[in-house]
Structures are given as structure tokens and as C-alpha cells.
């Protein structure tokens, strides 16, 4: 059975996927008739002065002034009952609001507020009065709340301790999600729970799967919400109710989770987890440890008209994630297009400085992916970059702001900007702003790269100018200072094929350490179809590929530090670029490096097309290790690894003695390989001798049978190939000439 949101007991350890009984409990609950339906817009106001009929209207009007502060209601919706004699009011009133949320707000804001010196009003929900106000509904005596017994949690990172240092990955195909150990060219080994069960479960997720950023949790998506799985037993660790959830996003430290649904949530007050606070919202930011919502938000309408000229709704691309985390997860920000960035402080999720940070015209912003290390700045700060377009006579601007000071540490004016993209280098050392600029006539486009050296004094900016054609992809080397970009020519009108692309590689010039020299083009490779750049997580190697293309599926494996001779003209660059290998994976849709940077998995997902779904596994240098066609293959995801625990010195030490370490591993590898090879060779040898033994017997039997029947040694059809070499006149001798090249050399003239 599917690990349904409602039915699964979090303590349930062993997982039974044979039970196919569908779970209707969620539907039952959804359609159960509820008696108090509709009454949740009512509040009861108690503690009012008792007034004669003549003063009643006055009191209602007075009360109304307070009531409308929290929602919409009017005089007719305030019902103040009179006593049986009809001469005095009873001292309470029923008020109907437009929505339950308004009613809830009124309860929250008005309860226990003084009306005058003598009267303090009590405001409660009508349903609460019904529920708790009746006799016997509430126990009058205090009882100590029960403390749950402490139970030790499973180790959530046990996989990192694998003796062979293997990495895990998850595969989603058909209805099954399975977690495997990477075994290189061999069949991946399924991960097993301590009880020996294979972690391959049917209907584990409903839409897709996602790892948390450090690999601790595997996220499964369900109509009712999100679940996190992990530990050696692969049990459910957490669950977050969010009806209709579509997407999730983790904070970098895995402490918080953002869930988002396209449809606004509908929450009623009986919901055990969500409160009316969440009703009508799209986003929830959760605390993962407590599994409680911290704060919820509605989706902001993206800018621009909602409908096109013909009244059809325009589909807009959702910016995801909308809530962006600072590197240390202390802040999360969301942009209000063209106005400001709302920054919230964790863990309280209060609006930082009680107001959004105004940035007029803002189009996009990105946090630095690592905590800043600016020149001569010692105090704590997190940086984010943003850009604003040209407004009136003001030029477009790219800026970097420091939080918490809200100081703009650098801005740069730009002209003729049609679009810009912000690319941070993984350590926050560089920010590249890719600026698409149009000429004055707006006819042609060119791209500039404005590179901010964030760690240098005063954040100098270097401009890599005049890249013709549009840059369709850009990627920094992780932990490095080199980058790759892809440009595409303009699409000729009506062409059935996407335009050719060119791939350009850049590296800084040599400079005295620690300075980084100017960025220079190493090489451009044109007439390609490539559209994707995938760097190894450790840098140096990069896969430049063509994905989601019907005609081209090449994967180029490049090395930036090729250990060999360097071309003269590239001598002054801190790179020695070399195309190691080109592979071809038909229909490739996704490319994923393993966290160690040793392997690359490429997959063809049925989500994109139905041709030859499955995966390939390559080494970092592009050597194909495995390919496996799998029907209904959907998703491949390597399990990320947490940050290394070794200090920088220790890592350096490992690198220094790499030969020592690698010898041990090589020995283990070759031992494994030779035993496998030997088994294969033995099997072949056996097959060969069995085959020839069988043939010998069959041929002999046939010869005996032919002899018995008085037939010749060979059948008529076999005789056709026989030529009597001895016989005179039979067949003429023909000469055939073979040419064999013994040597060959080439030289370019001039």
C-alpha cells in the first residue's frame, strides 16, 4: 500500500508494500458531514453593558466600530438579544463576519479588550462556545500533561560511513522508488534496512522525490503533504501537512522547509496541525525538528497583466524558490517585484527590522551561497545581490546589499539592459551579472559579463564584453574561478531546428597568489547543439551536453587542468583545457554528478518523452560504465553528502599522500575485478567446451544418419560452396589485389 499520509503510523518500522488495499480515510474525512459547517464566521461578544432598547442601536454602532477593525460586518449582522421582558439587553451579542479568517482575527484581536472602565468584552468563536461552553464539556480539575517517553532517534547519516565510500542514489521508475548503492559498472546494489528489507517501495511518492541538501532526508510528495524519510530503517522521520502541495524547498542547513501549493489551502479549524492562520495561503515555512508551521504566505502575483488581449489568462512562470535562504539559513527573503525584498529572521520568522527592504524596481535578487568574507570586514553579514532595470532617466543597476546593516556595499550602473541574470560563485567570492544588452536601435543583442570580485577591497568589477549572440547558459566552476557559457545564434524564422550553439570557456590569467587575474577566454567551440553545463561538484571537470533535443544528445567531458602539454597561446591562463571524451546518450533529459565528483549519471525520463527511457552512468572522464534501459524511468537523484568534517590541513594532507591512499583502493578494486573477471572467463570457457561437445555429437549423429541413408557427406545446399580445386577446367583462377597501408604521415603545408 502507498505510504498514505493519514494512515501511516510513524512508529511503524517494517514496511509492507504487498498490501494493495487503497486507503480511503482521507476521502472519508473530506466528505464527512460536519454539523457546525457555516457557523465559523460567527463570534460571540460577551461582557457588554445591559442597555434598554433605546440605547441598543447606539451600543451596536459603538461596538461595530471596533468590530470592523478585523473584518467585514455590518449592523444587520450584529444580533443583540433582549431579555424576556424586552426592556434590557442580555449583555451579549452575536456577530457574523464574512469569512472564518476574519472571525478568527476578531477573536484574537478583540478578546479581553476593555470597552469602558466597567466593561471588558470577551470575544469567542460561536463554535468554541458550543464546544466548550456546554456543561461537562471541560474537566474542571488540572491534570499534569503526559510527557512522551524519550526515544533515541536513528542515526540519520549512517550511509556516509560506508566502508567502500560508495554513494547512494534514488531511482524513481514506474510506481516504485528505490534507494541503491552505486556499484560503478555493476548492477547497483539495493540499500537494505537493518531488518534486511530492500528499500524499494511502491507508490512511495505521488509526484517526485527530492533529497534534502545534505542528504539527511528523502522527501516524498503526496496530495496531503510532504513526508521526510531517512535513517537506516528508512522510516518516516517527519511529515508536513499541506493539502495539494506541489513543490518543496529546504533551507541550506536542513532546519526549515518551504512547501508550496498552486491552490490556496483550505483549512478548517478542526485541523490538528494547521490553524486558520494557514487558510487561503500557498506557502508554509516549517520548522523541521518540531514539524510545526512557522509562518504561511500567499503567492504574490507576478508582475504584468493577468490576461492577454483576448482575455485569455497568461500563464506565468513561477519563480521557484520564491523564498530564498541566506547561506547560514538565518534569513529567508522574498521579493515583491519592483518594490522591495521582505526578509524574515529565523527561527521566529519575524519580518526583519519590521519592514521590507525597499529596492525600487527590483527584478531579481540572489543571496550569496556562502557567508561573506569581504575584505577587512570582520562583523557578521550576509550578502545578497539584486538588479533593477532602467527607470526613466535612471540607468539599470546591479547592487550588493549587506544584511543586517542593510548597507549597499556596491552598485554598478548599466545601460541598454534588456535582461540580467545573477550568478554567484559557490563560495561567494565572485558574482557574475550576465547582462543582455540591446543596441540603441534594439535590433541586436549582445551580452556583457560584469564580474564582481566580492572578496577584494571595494569590490572591483571586471567586465567581459561583447559576447555576440545570446548567452543561454552560464555556470561557475564550483569552488573555483573559471566558468563556461553557451551562446546561441538567433533562430531563423520558421526553422524547425533550434539554432547552433557555441560553448566558451573562461579562466583567469595567471597572477601572484592569492590574487586572481583577469578573466580571459580560453577557447570557443562552435557549431554545437549543447545547451546544458554541469560542473563536477569539486570543479575542474565539466560536462557540456545537449539535453531535451530530438536530434542531438552529445555529452562532452572537459578537463580544465589537463595534465599534459599546454597550447602556447593559453600559457598565461590558469587552465589547460582538454576535451577528454564525447559520449552520446539518446534522448538524455537529465544529468547529475555524484557528490564525490567521480561519476555522472545521465537519464532519459518518461516525464519528457517515451523513447528509450533509462540511465547511463559515466566516469568523470566520460567513460561509459553502465547503461540500463528501464521502462517508465522517471528520476535519478544522487544522495547529497553533508559537508566534510576534515579540516583544510587534513584535506591537504590527504591530497599530498594521494598515491598512498589510492594504492589501497586500487588493490581492493583489482581484487574485486579479477575475481569477477575470472568468473566470467570461466563461464565462457565452460560454454565454449559445452558447445563444441554438443556440436561434435550432433555432427557425428548426422554423419551416421547420412551414411545409413546412402547419402553423401554433405547436403546438396552445403555442396554448393564446394569447389573442386584439383579438377581440370573447373573454375578459373582470379586475382584479387589488396592494398595495405604500412605507414602514413601528414603535414600541413604553408
Amino acid at each position: 500500500m502507498a505510504p498514505s499520509f493519514q494512515s501511516l503510523d510513524p512508529d511503524m518500522d517494517d514496511y509492507d508494500d504487498d498490501d494493495e488495499e487503497p486507503d480511503f480515510s482521507d476521502l472519508k474525512e473530506q466528505y464527512e458531514v460536519r454539523m457546525e459547517e457555516g457557523l465559523d464566521t460567527f463570534v460571540v461578544v460577551d461582557g457588554l453593558p445591559k442597555v434598554p432598547p433605546g440605547s441598543k442601536d447606539k451600543l451596536v454602532k459603538f461596538l461595530l466600530r471596533k468590530l470592523v477593525g478585523f473584518g467585514k460586518t455590518k449592523e444587520e449582522n450584529v444580533f443583540m438579544p433582549m431579555n424576556e421582558e424586552g426592556d434590557m439587553s442580555e449583555g451579549f451579542a452575536f456577530v457574523e463576519y464574512e469569512t472564518p479568517a476574519q472571525a478568527a482575527a476578531a477573536v484574537k484581536g478583540l478578546h479581553a479588550t476593555p470597552l469602558d472602565k466597567k466593561h471588558t468584552i470577551a470575544v469567542n468563536k460561536l463554535t468554541d462556545i458550543e464546544r466548550y461552553g456546554r456543561e461537562g464539556r471541560i474537566d474542571e480539575t488540572y491534570r499534569e500533561p503526559e510527557m512522551e517517553e524519550f526515544k533515541e532517534k536513528e542515526h540519520l547519516r549512517s550511509w556516509v560511513g560506508d566502508v567502500d565510500g560508495r554513494d547512494q542514489f534514488v531511482m524513481y521508475r514506474g510506481d516504485n522508488v528505490g534507494v541503491y548503492w552505486n556499484e560503478r559498472e555493476d548492477q547497483p546494489e539495493p540499500v537494505r534496512t537493518p531488518a534486511g528489507q530492500v528499500v524499494d517501495r511502491q507508490h512511495w511518492t505521488e509526484t517526485f522525490i527530492q533529497w534534502s541538501p545534505k542528504g539527511t532526508y528523502l522527501t516524498s510528495m503526496h496530495a496531503q503533504g510532504v513526508q521526510l524519510w531517512g535513517g537506516e530503517s528508512w522510516s518516516r522521520q517527519k511529515r508536513f501537512m499541506h493539502p495539494g502541495v506541489n513543490l518543496v524547498d529546504f533551507s541550506p542547513d536542513e532546519r526549515y522547509l518551504t512547501t508550496w501549493s498552486h491552490q490556496a489551502m483550505q483549512v478548517d479549524e478542526n485541523n490538528p496541525i494547521l490553524s486558520l492562520e494557514e487558510d487561503g495561503k500557498n506557502y508554509i515555512i516549517w520548522d523541521i525538528d518540531t514539524a510545526k508551521p512557522l509562518r504561511s504566505f500567499v503567492t504574490l502575483d507576478p508582475p504584468g497583466p493577468r490576461e492577454d488581449a483576448e482575455g485569455q489568462p497568461i500563464k506565468k512562470k513561477l519563480q521557484w524558490p520564491a523564498f530564498k535562504w541566506s547561506a547560514d539559513s538565518k534569513y529567508v527573503g522574498r521579493m515583491n517585484h519592483g518594490q522591495s525584498v521582505s526578509i524574515y529572521e529565523l527561527p521566529r520568522m519575524n519580518l526583519f527590522d519590521k519592514a521590507s527592504v525597499k529596492v525600487e524596481g527590483i527584478v531579481d535578487f540572489e543571496w550569496s551561497p556562502a557567508s561573506a568574507e569581504r575584505h577587512s570586514i570582520k562583523s557578521y553579514e550576509q550578502l545578497f545581490s539584486y538588479w533593477t532595470p532602467e527607470m526613466g532617466s535612471n540607468p539599470a543597476k546591479v547592487g550588493i546589499m549587506s544584511i543586517p546593516s542593510k548597507e549597499v556595499v556596491r552598485t554598478r550602473n548599466l545601460f541598454n539592459v534588456s535582461d540580467a541574470k545573477l550568478h554567484w560563485q559557490s563560495e561567494g567570492a565572485f558574482l557574475c551579472c550576465k547582462v543582455d544588452r540591446h543596441s540603441k536601435s534594439k535590433k541586436s543583442l549582445a551580452t556583457n559579463l560584469e564580474i564582481f570580485r566580492v572578496r577584494d577591497k571595494d569590490v572591483p568589477v571586471e567586465v567581459v564584453e561583447n559576447i555576440k549572440d545570446t548567452v543561454i547558459n552560464f555556470a561557475w566552476e564550483p569552488k573555483g574561478d573559471r566558468f563556461v557559457l553557451i551562446t546561441a545564434g538567433e533562430v531563423p524564422a520558421g526553422a524547425a531546428v533550434p539554432p547552433k550553439t557555441a560553448v566558451s570557456f573562461f579562466a583567469p590569467e595567471k597572477a601572484k597568489a592569492p590574487a586572481v587575474g583577469n578573466f580571459k577566454l580560453i577557447r570557443t567551440v562552435d557549431k554545437k547543439n549543447n545547451n546544458a553545463i554541469h560542473w563536477s561538484p569539486n570543479g575542474r571537470f565539466v560536462v557540456v551536453a545537449t539535453v531535451l533535443n530530438q536530434q542531438s544528445f552529445d555529452l562532452d567531458f572537459w578537463d580544465f587542468d589537463f595534465e599534459g602539454e599546454k597550447e602556447e597561446k593559453e600559457r598565461d591562463l590558469t587552465a589547460n583545457l582538454m576535451l577528454m571524451r564525447t559520449a552520446d546518450h539518446y534522448g538524455v533529459t537529465d544529468i547529475d554528478w555524484d557528490p564525490s565528483g567521480r561519476f555522472v549519471a545521465t537519464s532519459a525520463s518518461v516525464w519528457k518523452h517515451r523513447m528509450e527511457n533509462g540511465y547511463h552512468l559515466y566516469t568523470f572522464s566520460g567513460q561509459l560504465l553502465r547503461e540500463e534501459p528501464i521502462d517508465q524511468f522517471k528520476q535519478w537523484a544522487w544522495r547529497p553528502r553533508p559537508a566534510r568534517l576534515l579540516s583544510k590541513d587534513e584535506m591537504k594532507n590527504v591530497r599530498k599522500n594521494l598515491r598512498e591512499y589510492s594504492r589501497t583502493f586500487e588493490e581492493a578494486d583489482s581484487a574485486k575485478r579479477s575475481s569477477a573477471d575470472k568468473a566470467v572467463v570461466d563461464a565462457r570457457r565452460r560454454m565454449l567446451s559445452e558447445w563444441y561437445a554438443w556440436r561434435e555429437r550432433v555432427v557425428e549423429d548426422l554423419a551416421i544418419d547420412r551414411d545409413d541413408l546412402g547419402l553423401g557427406e554433405k547436403s546438396e545446399e552445403q555442396m554448393a560452396l564446394e569447389v573442386d580445386v584439383e579438377a581440370e577446367g573447373e573454375g578459373k583462377v582470379v586475382e584479387e589485389i589488396f592494398e595495405e597501408i604500412l605507414e602514413e604521415s601528414e603535414e600541413v603545408l604553408e
Partner: protein, 295 residues
């Protein structure tokens, strides 16, 4: 696969040497006999970048004698029958053509999609050289060039021969370019002549657009009951079809009588144009021509 190194992309066909302008710049191959019975052949050709390259090959010729099967020899002498009756000996270009060179070398642990050559560029060439048995330069059969059965029929086939000679190691990739390469006479509107500005090999850059756009055929006199799949079936026989567009009446859903068919490869398109033009389909005779640019 043997002919592989020999067929450097960009080199013109042997047979075409004297008809091309290039002939003036390129001397004919020099053949010298060595004492040990081998021959040294020096050829000059243009490489991809338009540079002249001198290649020196040392070749050994071996003559193998074998007895021919008399029944086969007899059948070789039979008079041809049916539509072939009375035709001269040798393959006719309308029924028999040479395909692209295919590298086929069995390997242990074959994996589909894997590039068969495992060694890097340089090693590969050297390795191939070791086992190399260069054969007929026209059809790469195991006979001397002058004895090639295609000598008379294939070589004069300008387009075909040219394409064949252009085929390099990566047969897939060059096929299209080779086919389109000669298409310099096709008009390209100036705004699409982008490649001209590119550095080096400007003419070839133009080729990439021709490959993309100029491989589209316009098909007219199509039966109103035709479906895209019918057309696809007809045209696919001549090459890889990337797109079939059949104009249909929005209300009746019937074909309007014309369609566009795009090939991945212009040479396929031109062959299809030739073959399918005049093809009877649904009581009508199809008319096929190259689509004019929608500019």
C-alpha cells in the same frame, strides 16, 4: 572501416579533381615504387580549415589468387532479365547506390551508444593504421581501385560521389554537411547569411543553415484524404524526416492539397524530391519541389 582514414572530410573526390577549381592548386598524387616492392603515394588535399595538407603513405599491394566457383562464374554471364534485360553489365545507379561508410568492429562487452573507438584521437588513428588494409578507393571493396565494379557507374555520379568522399569518421555528422556542401549556388537571403561574418570557414558556416532550412520540400497535388502519416511513410523511405506538415481545412479537416516535408539532411531531401516527384498517390500525381523560403 578501412577507408576511414583515407577519407578525410573536406577532400574532394578523386574523380572530380580535374573538374574542380581546386585542381589548379592541388597536384595529382605522386606514386613512386620502392625497392622492397612497396609504393609510396604522396597526396595533397585541403583539410577542414582550407589548409593544404600533404599526406605520405607507403602501401604494399598483395595479389591473392583464388579459384572461382564455376557455377558462380556461369551465372555472372547470364543475360539479364525483366526490366534489366539488355542493359549493360554493372550496377545501375537507379537501383544500386553506395551507402555511407560504416565502422563495424566486433568488441567484447559491446554497449549501445558507445563510441566504438575507445582510444583517444591520436592512438585511434595509429591503431587503425596497424590493421589497415586499404582497398578500392571508390567503393572500399577488397579489390584494386581500377578494378572497381563501380568505377564507371559511381564516380561520375557527381553528388553521390562527392558525398561519399566527404564522409569522415563520424559518418552521421558529416552526411548532411557533405550533401549541402555543394549547395553554394542556392540563394540565401542576406540576413540569414550570418556565417559569412564568422571567422574561418565562412562558407561552411552557411552550410549549417542550409542543412536546417533548405531540406524542406513542398509537396502539392496531395489528395484531400491524405493524412500526415501517409506522407511520412512515403518520404521516410528517402531519409530521416524531421517534420511533416500537411495543410488541412480547419472546418472539414480535409487536406488542402499541399504539404511540407523537412529532412534532417539536404541530400536526402534532394533524393526524395527526385524520387517522389511524379509519384502516384491516391489517384493524384504528387508534385515535389524544394520549398521556397518564407522571407
Amino acid at each position: 572501416m578501412a577507408a576511414n582514414v583515407q577519407n578525410i572530410p573536406g577532400r574532394t573526390d578523386w574523380a572530380e579533381d580535374d573538374t574542380e577549381d581546386l585542381a589548379t592548386a592541388i597536384p595529382p598524387p605522386q606514386i613512386t615504387k620502392n625497392k622492397d616492392g612497396t609504393e609510396t603515394i604522396i597526396t595533397v588535399f585541403l583539410n577542414e580549415d582550407g589548409k593544404r595538407v600533404k599526406r605520405t603513405q607507403r602501401i604494399r599491394r598483395t595479389v591473392v589468387k583464388k579459384k572461382e566457383n564455376p557455377r558462380v562464374a556461369e551465372r555472372r554471364q547470364w543475360a539479364k532479365i525483366g526490366p534489366e534485360a539488355g542493359k549493360p553489365a554493372g550496377p545501375r545507379p537507379d537501383t544500386t547506390t553506395l551507402g555511407e561508410n560504416i565502422i563495424f568492429r566486433p568488441v567484447m562487452g559491446y554497449k549501445s551508444g558507445q563510441v566504438q573507438e575507445k582510444a583517444p584521437e591520436e592512438d585511434r588513428k595509429a591503431e587503425q593504421l596497424k590493421k589497415m588494409q586499404i582497398k578500392c578507393r571508390i567503393c572500399s571493396g577488397d579489390h584494386f581501385t581500377t578494378k572497381c565494379p563501380f568505377k564507371d557507374t559511381m564516380a561520375p555520379e557527381g553528388a553521390e560521389g562527392g558525398a561519399a568522399a566527404d564522409l569522415g569518421e563520424d559518418a552521421d555528422d558529416t552526411a548532411g554537411a557533405a550533401g549541402a556542401g555543394a549547395g553554394g549556388s542556392n540563394y540565401v537571403p542576406p540576413h540569414l547569411r550570418k556565417g559569412a561574418a564568422g571567422a574561418g570557414g565562412g562558407e561552411r558556416m552557411g552550410g549549417k543553415y542550409e542543412r536546417d532550412d533548405l531540406a524542406t520540400l513542398r509537396v502539392t497535388n496531395v489528395s484531400e484524404f491524405a493524412e500526415e502519416s501517409d506522407l511520412r511513410e512515403i518520404f521516410e523511405r528517402h531519409g530521416r524526416v524531421t517534420r511533416v506538415f500537411l495543410a488541412k481545412d480547419r472546418e472539414t479537416g480535409r487536406a488542402k492539397g499541399f504539404a511540407f516535408v523537412s529532412y534532417a539532411d539536404r541530400s536526402d531531401a534532394s533524393r526524395a524530391c527526385e524520387k517522389v516527384d511524379g509519384y502516384g498517390f491516391g489517384h493524384l500525381i504528387l508534385k515535389v519541389e524544394f520549398a521556397k523560403k518564407a522571407t
